[in-house]
Amino acid sequence: MLDKTGIAKRIAKELQDGWYVNLGIGIPTLVANYVPDGLNVEFQSENGILGMGAFPFEGEEDADMINAGKQTVTINPGGSIFDSVTSFAMIRGGHVQLTVLGAMEVSDTGDIANWKIPGKMVKGMGGAMDLVASADNIIVAMMHTNKRGKSKLLRQCSLPLTGVKCVRRVVTNLAVLDITPNGFKLIERAPGVSVEDIQNATEGRLIVEGDIPEMS
């Protein structure tokens, strides 16, 4: 089974040289720490940065230099700063090659819900609806089940949607799964996790074809 860091490390293996990548808040943010050596990848933050760098050194933080999670950050050489219109032009126009975001629910047709629990929590969608509606390559990073042990990989989302038929791959603490016309296709098992464990934790249609390798 993977912890949050493990999920981030697994997603980092999806990165390709030359990609521009948008990382959501939470587990996705951790992906930036595990870019494979030798790969050039630029991180976009939708409040207006390309080439987002590490956190600033203590005492060098700048209130005018934050990321979409409102954290103080730095910018790498070769980075650029722009306004919100340009930032979402990049996103909507398909110039960002990979978007990684968290979710409360994902359906086996690729719908995602992550912005609202009616009557309980309404923080807003931020940039998530633009991101999921625009990019071809959406990876969801999340725990396979919620705090009450209920599956987050569903036949249909029960919460208000963020986007429809948009998720390409889901990486959880238990597995890597792709969205296919027939449901979640199991690609890899997390270390020590059996196909049965995954089946038990997945409410949506699960496709298991042949031997499912354990993540290396």
């Binding site: 207006g48 203590e58 930032s87």
Partner: protein, 232 residues
């Protein structure tokens, strides 16, 4: 061209109860602190505020929420504010949540004379309810309309008396788009410089969009998430 006014109190003259305002900023970054304070003092009320976020409990737009001066918020993300949540759940505050990219584009569209445009963002969600859907290249899009505002209030780093503005770092965010969209746009800046001091080739917001400008004071620039690494 001299658009300079003395201070925030002068700048907000004409902002009346019930008006629609746009306010620049992302979280607490790049918000017009001086004008917000002046509006808290003026007591103007029943405002509709278009702003990406709603501040925190005791800063930014949170100050206007505390005093119940805001009737309706149009935003993309409103976490980080307990008083906001309380007013929203109790029904005291109307809230329209808009995808962030659509929010930016709808402000820009107003300033650019584009009354409506199609975007994929929000298709199939609550955001699309009641909106026209049309397919382009086989992909569904929804029709979104421009947002207009009686006043837009933006915060820049430097500006001159023609209203030309330069922003610093990610404090730019929604400010340039909103600057274009106000019937009257107010810019508060950290420093007013002489015309010609800003390189004309590197002006973020041309002065044509600005009607009033003043040099703000005592910027707090509060940081929401101070994240640092130790010095090596």
């Amino acid at each position: 061209m001299n658009k300079v006014v003395a201070n925030a109190e002068e700048a907000i003259k004409g902002i009346h109860d019930g008006m629609t305002l746009m306010l620049g900023g992302f979280g607490l970054c790049g918000i017009p602190e001086n004008c917000i304070s002046a509006m808290v003092n003026s007591g103007v009320t029943n405002l509709t505020c278009i702003s990406n976020n709603a501040g925190v409990d005791d800063f930014g737009l949170g100050l206007l929420l505390q005093k119940k001066q805001i009737k309706k918020m149009i935003s993309s993300y409103v976490g980080e504010n307990d008083e906001f949540e309380r007013q929203m759940l109790s029904g005291e505050l109307e809230v329209d949540l808009i995808p962030q990219g659509s929010l930016a584009a709808r402000c820009h569209a107003a300033g650019a004379g584009i009354p409506a445009f199609f975007t994929p963002a929000g298709y199939g969600t609550e955001v699309a309810e009641g909106k026209e859907v049309r397919y382009f290249n086989g992909k569904p899009h929804i029709l979104e309309h421009a947002f207009h505002a009686d006043f837009a209030i933006v915060k820049a780093w430097k500006g001159d008396r023609f209203g030309n503005l330069v922003f610093k770092g990610t404090a730019r965010n929604f400010n340039p788009a909103m600057a274009m969209a106000g019937k009257i746009t107010i810019a508060e800046v950290e420093e007013i410089v002489e015309p010609g001091e800003l390189d004309p080739n590197f002006i973020h917001t041309p002065g044509v969009f600005i009607q009033r400008i003043f040099q703000g004071k005592d910027y707090e620039k509060r940081i929401e998430q101070r994240t640092v690494r130790p010095k090596a």
